[in-house]
């Protein structure tokens, strides 16, 4: 028997090895490489000036207003979009759960934003809000140049994010809703609980795990926002997200040392967010891992 389990163990690792190797080679190794690059002055336009500079890159980033500004912008976009997505997503999920007609059509419809390329969605909304091509101003009777003012540019960016990702949140929450036993809701109704009470006292607590999963996924995803901002403003009007700053430093200005330091800081932010979630809410993931 121990022979059997040993060969099983070996086979298990053998089967996982290709996937693990790929993930280690393309994620873990580059992160370490980024860490190493971030400790050097390394500008591809002046490659001969390559030297070890210790934490100087981090000092110059953390003392620059650009970084803090972009971090603030990213948080505005993240909080703004995720909050609305959760509320709207829950409404959509309840609707899909209760819909009396066109359940299939409804489910098909919410997959449309998911299937649309983010760049295309961002461009579609950019054109819609554009003062010369767009229909939004004509529809609302406004004369607003949406993307040239910081506040309204944020509105368009967040609006686009919400449009694109609410369906994903809704589907996750719908899966949570189907786990709520009907008998429990019936019992609550018999006990005299109203619609509102049933929702807050019965449904919501049972859907909470699904909400937390959606919240974590979406927060980390929104924090990395790049496509929409790049397409709609390229970071103009003070709408730069941290990923845009990283991209500009690395790919546009070819400053690999400084850019890698930005990358490492973004990585640390994501880790920090994940830790805060796990500490704050307990984690639905470790339990799942254990069951897995």
């Amino acid at each position: 028997m121990s022979d059997g389990s040993q060969s099983e163990r070996r086979l298990g690792w053998l089967l996982c090895a290709p996937a693990l190797t790929a993930m280690l080679l393309v994620c873990a190794y580059p992160v370490l490489y980024a860490l190493w690059l971030s400790l050097h002055r390394y500008d591809l336009r002046f490659p001969q000036e390559w030297t070890f500079v210790g934490l100087a890159n981090y000092v110059s980033i953390l003392s620059s207003p650009v970084w803090w500004q972009s971090l603030g912008n990213t948080l505005i976009i993240t909080i703004g979009s995720v909050t609305v997505e959760l509320i709207l997503g829950l409404a959509f999920a309840l609707l899909m759960h209760r819909a009396v007609f066109g359940r299939r059509t409804l489910r098909a419809a919410v997959l449309v934003p998911y299937a649309m390329i983010t760049v295309v969605a961002a461009l579609a909304w950019k054109f819609a809000f554009d003062p010369t091509t767009g229909f939004v101003n004509a529809l609302l009777g406004l004369d607003q140049a949406w993307l040239t003012d910081r506040g309204s540019a944020f509105f368009v960016i967040i609006f686009t994010e919400i449009w694109k990702t609410t369906p994903f949140v809704a589907l996750l929450l719908l899966a949570g809703l189907t786990l709520v036993p009907q008998e429990l809701l019936q019992a609550a109704r018999v006990d005299g609980a109203g619609v509102v009470q049933r929702f807050f006292r019965v449904t919501l607590p049972l859907v909470k795990p699904a909400i937390l999963v959606a919240l974590l996924f979406r927060t980390l995803d929104a924090f990395r926002i790049f496509d929409t901002v790049f397409v709609q403003t390229r970071g103009a009007q003070d709408t730069e997200s941290v990923s845009i700053v990283g991209y500009n430093t690395l790919v546009v200005r070819l400053n690999l040392g400084l850019g890698s330091a930005v990358s490492v800081l973004i990585f640390l932010c994501v880790v920090l967010i994940a830790i805060l979630f796990v500490r704050g809410f307990g984690t639905p993931f470790t339990q799942r891992g254990e069951r897995g």
């Binding site: 298990g12 609707l95 066109g102 390329i117 790919v251």
Partner: protein, 271 residues
């Protein structure tokens, strides 16, 4: 009354989802002279923008790159993930929790964090601006999604049927071919669609690791489309290109909607 409320809600959601699609289709069909008429629907129809994008070299090349790169990355990611998911579901071995947790942490990983190193490595190794240069990161970044979804699907397969078939005299290969493969196929297929959509959608890697028609995919090509002058966005061409890349994926998603919904949520909620 309540019924009316749900019906209205359904219509609102359908409108919500379809509005930008209808808008971009309408924009792509407007003749150039009417692009700035601020109307939602076109007054007259024209295919000039479609003719324009296909007569230029850039868009067909990008389309070919997108299809090839996304398909190859899907094939690779799903094959690697199949082995891993099978091991995770069927075999008992220490560390499999770590594999799932590790995969999950990579799913949360900010891609921008490795753009710099990859950019530099690809520059040195000659992978910059090649298909392989994009296939490698796409495969890796979709592996977590593929492993989680496939594990969720594989868990629901009645694997004992395999033994039953062997008892009934089927060979190992026959049992796999006629019993297990048909049971596993829907999950594998669904996972493949999800992975394909991820690779098809990516913009960050495509814009940072490519520079010419050699490997530039559609999202990057569209974002860097240039019009007749530097300051004018070629709205019509962008809209037409957007429609061409959106419609096939959308049809695929609508045809396989039930599976895709279960695939999207299986990994996350059922676990």
């Amino acid at each position: 009354m309540e019924r009316l409320f749900w019906r209205a809600g359904t219509l609102i959601v359908i409108g919500y989802a379809l509005l930008p699609v209808a808008w971009i289709v309408s924009l792509s069909l407007k003749p150039a002279a009417e692009l700035n008429d601020q109307r939602f629907f076109p007054r007259s129809l024209s295919l000039e923008h479609y003719r324009a994008i296909f007569s230029d070299a850039q868009f067909p090349a990008a389309l070919w790159n997108s299809i090839g790169i996304a398909l190859l990355a899907t094939l690779l990611a799903v094959s690697l993930a199949m082995f891993a998911a099978y091991a995770i579901v069927r075999l008992e071995f220490p560390g499999k929790r770590w594999i799932l947790a590790g995969a999950l942490s990579i799913a949360m990983f900010p891609p921008i964090a490795i753009i710099g190193p990859l950019f530099n490595l690809w520059r040195i190794t000659g992978l910059f601006d090649t298909w392989a240069g994009l296939i490698v990161p796409y495969t890796t970044f979709t592996l977590p999604l593929a492993i989680w979804t496939l594990s969720a699907f594989f868990r629901d397969i009645p694997w004992d049927l395999d033994r039953a078939a062997r008892v009934d005299g089927a060979s190992g290969w026959q049992a796999l071919r006629y019993v297990i493969a048909p049971l596993a196929a829907p999950g594998v297929f669904t996972t493949a669609i999800l992975v394909f959509i991820f690779a098809w959608n990516d913009f960050l890697f495509a814009s940072a690791l490519t520079s010419t028609n050699n490997a530039r995919t559609v999202p990057a090509a569209i974002a860097f489309f240039t019009g007749s002058s530097r300051f004018e966005l070629p709205t019509g061409s962008i809209a037409a290109a957007s429609v061409v890349v959106t419609i096939p994926v959308m049809l695929m998603v609508l045809i396989f909607q039930r599976r895709i919904v279960s695939g999207l949520t299986a990994g996350a909620v059922k676990g």
